[in-house]
Symmetry: C2
């Protein structure tokens, strides 16, 4: 029996050996809130003012709750909160970054309000702003920023959600009339799950296959009236439009999702959102972007703000769950453990620490990663990033970061909310304790605004094409097609695979043995491990793809078989970016600012990094990058870090600044 | 770069290399239904007859839905379905095993109906039957079997759910009046989350600390009227009882959970459920079991049927989710992958297979493990198991099995339902597609009828005390106290730890190197791996406990630090039992019964076993039981097994026999 299988239990509590830091909560909140502290405070105030919406969600019937959510959204819009991202001349705040901060913070509250805001101002408003031109801006923006004009983003169809290039709705140009004719073709080509469609939307931005003079030009967006409203306020579908309510959903029942069918609906030529392509009166199609694929993905690229927002919302919803579960664990006692007279606090159990504290660390990590994504997006959408080669690369990287952070942030929310609910036992099952709504409402985050699995494939595509710039025009669904291209063009030649492996070797600063000697709490070691993993998996994927295709297999089949490695590569990449963001944030903090926040975040950062390595330690061992001894050491260190973070847990969740009213039950959180 | 990092992709589909089995669905359903096929068919018929309850759950308000659920429960009771476990002389079916089968099958439908049945017939009825004597049986059983008399199982309090020995409700014997006086002491000592309490229950079995003549005798159960009902049907709380509605819950809103306070409520001496202890008129306490701890856990032990039922319900709810997700994946196409003309079925993507098929295999495994648990419980509760030493051992093992299978089965449900929902994308978010209800209703399964983490500690306690029979009287919460005992009594002496390690070595049939040579698809290899892991972790836990205590640490602190190993040991144990059940089931199938079901289940069994090993492969590598080469081979085999199971997926979910009406949306499942 190897002696290392039985680790010694430390005889002294860690706090006695190391100085135990304390946390300055306001300073930490200020760090988390960052440059948009003021905006976040405005949203917190609005959340408290409208806190009754949390109970309305339970007491009103569906129709009344939808109306109430709409009303709250309009009143919040009047405070300027929801229009931050629109130009000032149309009543907006002229600051894209502020719009992300406002949206994220809104996720502390009722999530129907959040998603309704996202539909109206992010998706509908964003499409008008980003895909339209001045004529659309003049016509719609002012009214949509106030919420007087409500609209839909009608992209998804029953038959196509991920593969949106294959949408079935068609827009044919009728040159004689100077109009587009919009039609739903086939049984599953209706729009589906469209927010604002069932009750409140008057307009929809409809994505449809454009056909001009018998020629197909791919998917374009059109502004289509879907509902007319009489003076009395009564409304009915516009002529040629059929609307169906999506009915009860798992959550988000304050949002009126619906289905739309178009039967030869005519809209004027000017209804085409024509920033990236136009049709002249006589029916001549023109676009500044020649390649249709590239055109489509340039259009989509302008809409990534939705992904940035959803990722941030998932991360902030996790904060609410953690605030409740940690506070409950600091109040609830069960079983006499260390004392015969008093039962033990839940958070003093090792297993309970292991359940909650790494998730707390990951939430901090994702928060800072999200700050980077939002910052980059602000740069791009504020025109701070040029259109030269470097600018284009920056945009591509942003798309990848946004997709990856959205996937990890929303999966994190699902997992964290579930763990926190279970950690609160039966009390967590009662609706007043927030988990019911948090769980039901966030559930769809993992599959809307891009299915997480598909998004990770998009990330992986970006990584693979990094080695071959010709492929930047690949479509987002294009992993499969990329593989097909491999067969004929052999992009990844043996030499470039070799080059890749060389890069992997060069990653380790002090040579191949360095990582065996570095301390496991050294951030450089942790980052090098993650970088090495990412490059290594990627090289493996490239080699597998090539080998399969060279063996004469169907490219789609080859892809199918390496798909789990593809997803693993993307996850490894995003996890590395997340850790980098956390490490850089901590390193940039001053050492002598009068409190221990840097030390506290350093502990969390270590806890997060080691948890990542532990979770994939089998892979590291399989690839010779982790010895058995070191793997066990990492697990021990995680336990020890949990014990050091334990006394800071309350302050660390308080610093999130979730308003007390959003935690609801005083019984649960004390 | 080690060459083994790049595995070859098989150039031929597996089906061409190996014969592809086909599944005989009716025969497989017959195998799954087992000896209670008839009972299961009755429940399936009832589910179909009352299928409208699935929509009632969405359309009725809470109060009307509660009434509707009660009505359905009563009508189902009239078919004999819910009374299978009660003696025939009181209108029951006289077959405990049949009651498990009926309950499990009910989990295909609305889960409020299921839980209401569990509360009324399992918890309330079970307590009267198991803890009461003839006087209680005569008085209550016939009426409760029909549902004319509805009641509660009032154990949990706001302050105590897991540690029920510390309940705050007190029952004091008043010898002068010949009555018990029941009182709620302190702010968190009220009963909470009690099913049937808010509206329908007339009686409650109340668990309270018995005090006789100033002496405390621990927790006992009393029948207490909580509500009086006038001729008009109107009801009000019984004198001295305060009732509060628990309000909206995450799910199960057809069950009326509530809180109960008792203010000096008087019940006659005969209200004590006196099978295991009694109080004479003059106030003399007597019990056939001297040790109070042992007495309490003997009482609790008679109530484990609830755990058996909840585990089975979780497993069957998983079947519904898998049936929907697999059928959707065989209908839904997205992206052209292998063909330029047609998009690919979701289930033909490797990642999609990896998401769903191991969960399908695990569901089969858990089904057969549950069959073993239910069979053992039937034996115990039908008096087929004696009270000699072997019988007592059998009972202890049953308690452990029931706890472990409940924990794994309900966590499996949470995970499977989540994965299946995501695999159905936006469509899975609509309420009519079942996931909303499945997710919300099953959520509490992981923490009610014993918190899963606490239950796994109970399992681990059993394993540790196997080595020391003096400790069989440990209470269920007793891991902590067990550790405390260790300090003074040093149960696990160095020698016995050594003995344990010897046992571990002896586990490998062909010596220490055998597992390096055996085929990974050999069930004996797989089982040996799981057995070895279990014993090894257990030995590690024992050694860690001992070392910590010898070093002078607070025993509670030592426990806290090894708690994750304790949980791991228990999980390893239960996973081994589950795999054994599956392997034994497959081995017992005849080879030549005219279909390939044995081959098909063999594939599933391999897929399940290798998935278990893969999930913990880091541990196996850390402990020298798995080479890097073999670890990678196992991952490859899982991919290959998924591809072989893929063509059988529809038949494998059809064999569950979930009625079509329970899948609801035809759009989703085709």
């Amino acid at each position: 029996m190897a002696s290392d299988t039985i680790e010694p239990v430390d005889a002294q509590p860690d706090a006695a050996r190391h100085g135990q830091p304390t946390v300055d909560v306001p300073a930490l909140t200020a760090l988390l809130d960052g440059r948009y502290a003021e905006v976040r405070q405005l949203v917190r105030k609005n959340l408290v003012d409208y806190a009754s919406i949390l109970t309305d969600a339970e007491t009103l019937d569906r129709s009344a709750f939808r109306d109430r959510v709409r009303q709250v959204v309009l009143e919040m819009a009047a405070t300027g909160q929801t229009g931050m991202g629109f130009p000032k001349e149309y009543g907006g705040g002229g600051d894209v970054g502020a719009s992300f901060a406002a949206f994220e913070t809104l996720a502390f509250g009722d999530l129907s309000v959040l998603v309704k805001v996202g539909v109206q101002f992010g998706l509908f408003g964003g499409a008008i702003l980003q895909l339209g031109t001045e004529r659309h801006h003049e016509k719609y923006l002012e009214d949509l920023v106030t919420g007087r004009l409500m609209g839909c983003f009608a992209m998804t169809e029953t038959g196509h959600g991920s593969n949106v290039q294959a949408l079935g709705t068609v827009a044919t140009y009728d040159a004689a009339a100077g109009e587009f004719v919009i039609s739903t073709t086939g049984p599953d080509a209706n729009k589906d799950y469209i927010g604002n469609a069932a009750e409140h939307g008057e307009l929809a931005v409809v994505f449809a296959q454009l056909e001009v003079a018998g020629e197909a030009h791919g998917v374009h967006a059109f502004v289509v009236p879907i509902r007319t409203r009489a003076e009395s306020g009564a409304s009915r579908p516009a002529p040629g439009v059929r609307i169906e309510d999506d009915g009860l959903k798992m959550g988000l029942n304050g949002v009126d999702n619906g289905r739309l069918w178009f039967d030869g609906v005519r809209v004027p030529r000017e209804a085409l959102l024509n920033r990236f392509a136009d049709v002249s009166e006589d029916g001549t199609y023109s676009s500044p972007i020649d390649n249709p694929n590239r055109r489509f993905f340039t259009m989509l690229g302008t809409l990534i703000q939705g992904r940035v927002c959803v990722g941030g919302a998932g991360i902030n919803a996790s904060k609410v769950a953690l605030a409740i579960a940690v506070r409950y664990a600091l109040k609830r006692r069960q079983f006499e453990a260390t004392s015969p007279d008093q039962e033990e606090l839940l958070l003093d159990y090792g297993q309970h620490q292991r359940r909650l504290l790494p998730l707390l660390a990951q939430t901090y990590a994702l928060h800072f990663a999200q700050e980077v994504v939002a910052g980059h997006a602000h740069g791009v959408f504020s025109g701070e990033v040029g259109d030269d080669e470097a600018g284009q690369k920056f945009r591509r990287e942003l798309e990848s970061r946004a997709a990856g952070t959205k996937a990890l942030g929303t999966w994190h929310a699902t997992r964290t909310i579930q763990e926190c609910r279970e950690a609160c036992g039966g009390a967590g099952y009662l609706a007043e304790n927030r988990f019911a709504a948090l769980k039901a409402d966030t559930d769809v985050f993992t599959t809307f605004e891009g299915d997480n699995t598909v998004l990770l494939q998009l990330v992986a595509k970006g990584l693979l094409t990094d080695y071959s710039s010709e492929f930047e025009e690949l479509d987002q669904l294009g992993m499969v097609r990329f593989v097909a291209s491999l067969a004929v063009e052999t992009v990844i030649e043996r030499t470039s695979v070799h080059k890749l492996f060389e890069r992997v070797r060069d990653l380790l600063p002090g040579g191949d043995q360095w990582d065996q000697e570095a301390g496991v709490l050294d951030s450089d070691y942790q980052l090098a491990m993650l970088r090495w993993r990412e490059e290594h998996i990627l090289a493996g994927v490239a080699r597998r793809l090539k080998r399969g295709i060279e063996a004469g297999m169907n490219p789609g089949e080859v892809f199918s078989r390496v798909q789990d490695h593809v997803i693993h590569a993307a996850r490894a990449h995003v996890e590395r970016l997340v850790l980098e963001a956390f490490v850089e944030k901590v390193r940039a903090m001053p050492d002598d600012d009068g409190h221990d926040n840097k030390v506290a975040l350093g502990l969390l950062c270590n806890l997060h990094a080691l948890s990542l390595i532990e979770a994939d330690r089998a892979w590291f061992m399989e690839h010779g990058r982790l010895t058995v001894m070191r793997s066990k050491e990492i697990s021990r260190r995680i336990g020890s870090l949990c014990r050091r973070v334990r006394p800071l847990a309350r302050e660390l969740v308080d610093a999130f600044g979730v308003p007390e009213e959003m935690l609801r039950s005083k019984e649960l959180v004390g």
